[in-house]
Amino acid sequence: MASLSFRAIQKSYGSTKVLHHVDVQVGDGEYLVLVGPSGCGKSTLLRCIAGLEDISAGELWIGDRRVDQMAPRDRNVAMVFQSYALYPHMTVRENMGFALRVQRRPPAEIEAAVLQAAKMLELEHLLDRYPGQMSGGQRQRVAMGRAIVRRPDVFLFDEPLSNLDAALRHHMRVELKRLHRRLETTIVHVTHDQVEALTLADRILVLNGGYVQQFGSPRELFDTPANTFVAQFIGSPSMNLLPAVGSGGEVRIEGVEGALALDRSGPFTLGVRPTDLVVGSGPLKGRVDVIESMGAEALLHIELGPHTIVAQVPEPLRVRVDELVPLDVGVTHAFDRESGVRL
């Protein structure tokens, strides 16, 4: 168990820079989720921690050891691959015990460690199976088990849930959370799914185009997104972003009649989460275009002047398609028009 610290890490392939100055401290036992769209550099960062890629500049520390020049085997990290990378020619028992076998631990110790991990993951009855004889969820758990057996300083999860169906993914999310509580080990988890990030993480690192967008707790990211990218990426459905201009305690949305009572002046980007839209009263008028009903709640796609916004409201509904509804906003966010940075 150890803390993890990225000190001014950069990574480039030839002249293409894929990671720009990542400088982040992760506390011991923390659950860090790296999130971002595909190609944002999150997997590269994970592979840099593992030592599967070299970093081009900066330092990487695990606890009080500087590891960036170490071979992967010396870093004492364990990784769960997206494809699980289970050894197809070994049984579950052999797969899970491989790392200890490599360290030439006594067989009895290996067996005990494997059994313990198997118990934790409810894999005991599968120990003599081969990966080819198991379902996706089972393989996923074996991959976890293989990592647990090692008792590493840091766990690295590379999109571990992406190959599972929705129900199983939810189930495993809970499992992961339980596991983390039990193991109390630092975890770095890569995903492109913001729900996974919000539900699992102690802290989230949002990456885009190789730049760190924001680093903070799920709450911080949700409540105070650092820029429009984070604002749209975190939270589902995405935050509505509208071009707005304010003056004299009033804010008008471009192309829309009516004004909001907000104290801000000059042009800016107005951000409103779908849950923060009030439907049924207010100074704005929008036409309901599509209704997506989800049981307890519904999503209303509303045409507001030239814009389309999404509102999340509780069922049962009192509106119908094509109806003109009055709108108001609750909590709002303001971003710079040019840079997208939170104002």
Binding site: A78, M79, Q82, L86, Y87, Q103, P131, R139
Partner: protein
Amino acid sequence: MARRPSTPEVVLTHAAIVGITMVTLYPVLWVLEMAFSPSQSFSMDLSPIPSEVTLDNFRDVIGTFDDEGRWLFGRQLLNSVIVSVATAVLGLSLSTTAAYALSRWSFPGREQGMAAFLVTQMFPGVVMAIPLYLLLDLFGLLDSRTGLVLVYATTSVPFSVFTLKGYFDTIPVALEEAAMLDGASRWMTFRYIVLPLARPALAVTGLFSFMTAWNEFILALTLMGSEDAYTLPVVLQGYVGDFGTEWGRFAAGAVIVSLPVMALFFALQRHFVEGLTAGGVKG
């Protein structure tokens, strides 16, 4: 969900396979006829069914003894087996590591290395026999199985490297990365993860190397000095004389030489079928 073939399709396919197999085996039947018939002449009948069946030819080929009364054919068979198996083992040891390096790492000179392996396949063997002889003479390896094995194993390397490299390319890198994170060194990863997964390709290339040695005649003759040291192809070629060939014995010998190859193929074909090129490691 496999497509259900129509009845005419099944019948036609089986008929085609049986027909092609018969055409393929037709010439081979003559080898059998000559091997089992008492005459030593070449058979030119249209029907390759022997009129008289005898095992004399096999008895003649197998039942040879040297001056000290030791079983000569047995020793020669043993030579062949030792040389061929050793060739397969050495050939594989040389080519697996090279193929793995060429498949995985982009060190400077890699492209040139690949090209060099291919280029050696283009050397016409004829010009190499005498230089090889001189070389082995220099190393004192003439008349020794070691020398022969070295030459054969090396000859088999390029084909093996290409086959194995092709296979290694299909093994997901993630498995090796997983092993490295599990604390395995490069060598351990290769030994415990890559090699076991490449078993099909190893079976195939092993068989190829084996056959390189098993059927080779001219180097075996040039490099080996005594009848005790001959391999079976040399023995077989001995039935081809200055003025005529002892076809019966030659054919019997050819049958004897082919049988182990057939048996090996039959045993390995399950691997063969997935081993030569591809290999999806499904996991």
